[in-house]
Symmetry: D2
Subunit: 275 residues, 4 copies
């Protein structure tokens, strides 16, 4: 099943789409800077882009961590990016009452992994009619995503994306089961691979989540070879100074080198499928 | 650190307190029936009881599963049980705005495992000044509970309980790391062992969570021998017909046989401590 | 089923027996020193002792680690300890051809966890007619131990012990599933809990296995409360200078304080059973 | 580092080599039939082949499972296949004393995963001077393979291959951590991905190991995209009637369709490297 989104659609037989952006909306200027850079890069590489950024980090490890610009300011920035660059925009929602206002500003509502079983949030997101990207909880088996799909479908919304971002493996470590990608694809909905959160090390920095940025590239290649509809990659011009997810974000300057082989593998794997 | 709660307190050197009740508030009559039976049993056994029941099951596996009587009716019933039986009452909260009204009706607010990192919910619960029982997320290492404690302490509330209810172990299976109990106790706060959710098998029934009721007794004995401040045990007169958590709840008629050896082990383990 | 061993027997309704000793046979003098100390302690506490020590460490993490005194010298020492102290002796075997000579010197042959599926080793051990203690592989589910039992039973030997020593949990970490104890007991054979290897951290020291000695006591209490036939505890007068398993062994001077509460819990849990 | 083997070599910048064959040597005729079919296929596809088959299955789940033709007959068959087809041959060893005779008949000695920490076996295998392929134990972290490499290197043998075949993930399930491939490659030695044992479900059939053959293809694509020196794939003309590993082996008739996309991905990923 293909999920239409503006001028393109997401589907298991379509070229992968790129969901990318900095973890947080840091400021209007920073958001425009990042969207400009990513738009240009994707145009050059011939990839369709969905711009991603969060207005609130609602479940930081530590209370002292930065939470973001807030919903009012954040949605204004995202709406302006959508209008200015003519690209679809994605952000995450944390409470049912956020869904309607967020849906006015963005094209894709994302359900965070920890919240993927919260029925009211799923229903509220589904009811907006927008595309909903659900991250598989780190505590969930891929074949259990069918129940989440059913909750969303009950709203009449069939524009659903299912996203792998790692599964619990002992303490302080996630693992990617590449079988999860074809298993989730059995629902018929497009599958997304989140290459940067997958290398998180929960609690790895003591006061914050750590990460293994060096494994983003091999895992992204593996996922694309397995077959995905979209890649989710957080990026930042200087990740190590970013207010969140620094250890996992890819330096903006490295994005081209990361993406080029993925495009080749994707083409090869989907050869023979409709394009 | 001891956490006072009505006529008693919870502490690692106190006899274990029992948090018990049916998973859901099914009706006023059923709630009173259960509270009556548990009060009588605990009086006979010399255990302090905290009555537990949920007004809403917000994260059921399947959309078709029963969600409960709702917050308005549920809180009325819980408040009446508290008044009628003179026992503290516990229920779980799912959104920040629920915390204040819930705090008027009950003595302990419980943070569900999936939501244990949601900062706003923790803060709102902490601000009520009520005792807050946080279930350790199935995706969290026990030593990372210190960050959750810090979020709660930031509200000035130090009446905190930390609850073990199983950790992800492969797909569709939880495991109890008994080391988690002493590790969480290092925070200084009382530790609770949830003996019935610990034997859940997520997704185990296809459309719902399964369970291994036969392991509740050995795991409860193990936890008490390790040292806990409270046991959390869901119970029902006929679990197999209950609207939720049937595969894990203990038949009411079996509670006495389950509890008696636990009391003995608890006394032995805490010998020499203040009583 | 009770497994007779010299003047006592092991069984789920018998008081727990203690399998204890230093990881390696370091020298004749050291072995006699340890056996003397443990014999005296167990006599005072009223526990039956099986003396444990290895003549060869065949699967050390690193090549540079000490392997032991060897089979010829080791078996002589073990046989002399058995004769001198009149206690049963246990050691581990690593190859089928070791079983017959080892069986002449000791009372219990132990199958190491990594080797628990090696059919020829199990058969050779079984054929000696001696008690065989099989450690559950860290890679094995407890319910799969029934196949190992069957391999041993095929030799006509029904003097089998099944030992829990931790299960893989992510990288570099073991976890004890206390459900494994009743599950393995369903075979009808006595179950042993290895409290010191259970707290190993494979590869935790970089060049060697690390450990969390502080969790031996709570895990041993948990296991005894669940119900076991024997406890396996490695001990040493100065663990931190021992040639192997230093991070997990219990200082000899701490053994009494470790064992005393276990005896109380064991009595309580087995009350009503034959003694 | 490249590991020479007959007319080719294995290396992270070389095209992947194929290690393939039926799990067991069933008979001379069957072995020749399989070797003929695989030789022809690999010649047509332009892949270098290493023929794999076992003379003994030393650690079957159940005692009643078939063990194979034995070492004497097995080695004769393997030597004859090597001579007849002019291809290198691989088989696994289970005891130190097998290494020398096996080394006379084959080109690659394989250390089974359960035995990967048995020092004597590693040393004996290394001393033969033959290529040694070590399967990473299901209980081992990939970064701990460096200790195994060191044991082998101590014999002066640097013709080492390191093979990923899955890691414990809960009970009865393996998972492939694709990060393990680049981590093991940091040793400098070629890395092999075993695509068929990786989908085993230990104990999954009750009396035997089950498997998920449908995931061999996506996992193999993922591994090749990550970057490997060789693929290990067991195959059989009718896997479901094979005496071992039926649930995971690939039907011989499906091998071409499995391999073709892998060749494309491999070329793409290694573009720019020496060929």
């Amino acid at each position: 099943m293909n999920v239409p989104l503006g001028t393109f659609s997401l589907g298991q037989d379509q070229p992968f789409r790129l969901i990318a952006g900095p973890c947080q909306i840091e400021s209007r200027d920073h958001a425009f800077f990042m969207a400009e850079a990513l738009s240009t890069l994707c145009r050059e590489l011939g990839i369709d882009l969905i711009y991603k950024s969060s207005f609130d980090k609602a479940n930081r490890t530590s209370l002292r961590a930065a939470r973001g610009v807030g919903i009012v300011e954040g949605l204004k920035i995202l709406a302006d990016i959508r209008a200015h660059f003519s690209i679809p925009v994605l952000t995450d929602v944390h409470a049912p009452e956020q869904c309607a206002p967020v849906a006015e500003a963005v094209d894709v509502l994302q359900i965070p992994a920890f919240l993927c079983r919260q029925t009211d949030l799923l229903i509220a997101a589904g009811k907006t009619g927008k595309v909903v990207n659900v991250k598989k909880g780190q505590f969930l088996a891929p074949y259990d995503m069918k129940h989440i799909v059913e909750k969303l479908e009950s709203t009449g919304n069939h524009r659903i994306l299912l996203c792998e971002r790692g599964t619990c493996f002992g303490y302080g470590m996630l693992i990617n089961d590449m079988r999860a990608l074809p298993i989730m694809a059995q629902t018929g909905y497009p599958v997304v691979f989140d290459a940067t959160h997958s290398v998180q090390q929960p609690g790895g920095l003591g006061h914050a989540t750590g990460g293994q940025r060096e494994f983003v590239a091999p895992l992204a290649r593996a996922a694309v070879a397995t077959g995905v509809s979209a890649l989710f990659i957080e990026t930042h011009q200087t990740p190590d100074t970013a207010p969140s997810d620094g250890p996992t974000m890819i330096p903006l300057a490295d994005m081209r080198a990361l993406l080029e082989p993925l495009i080749g593998i994707d083409r090869l794997v989907k050869q023979g499928s409709q394009n």
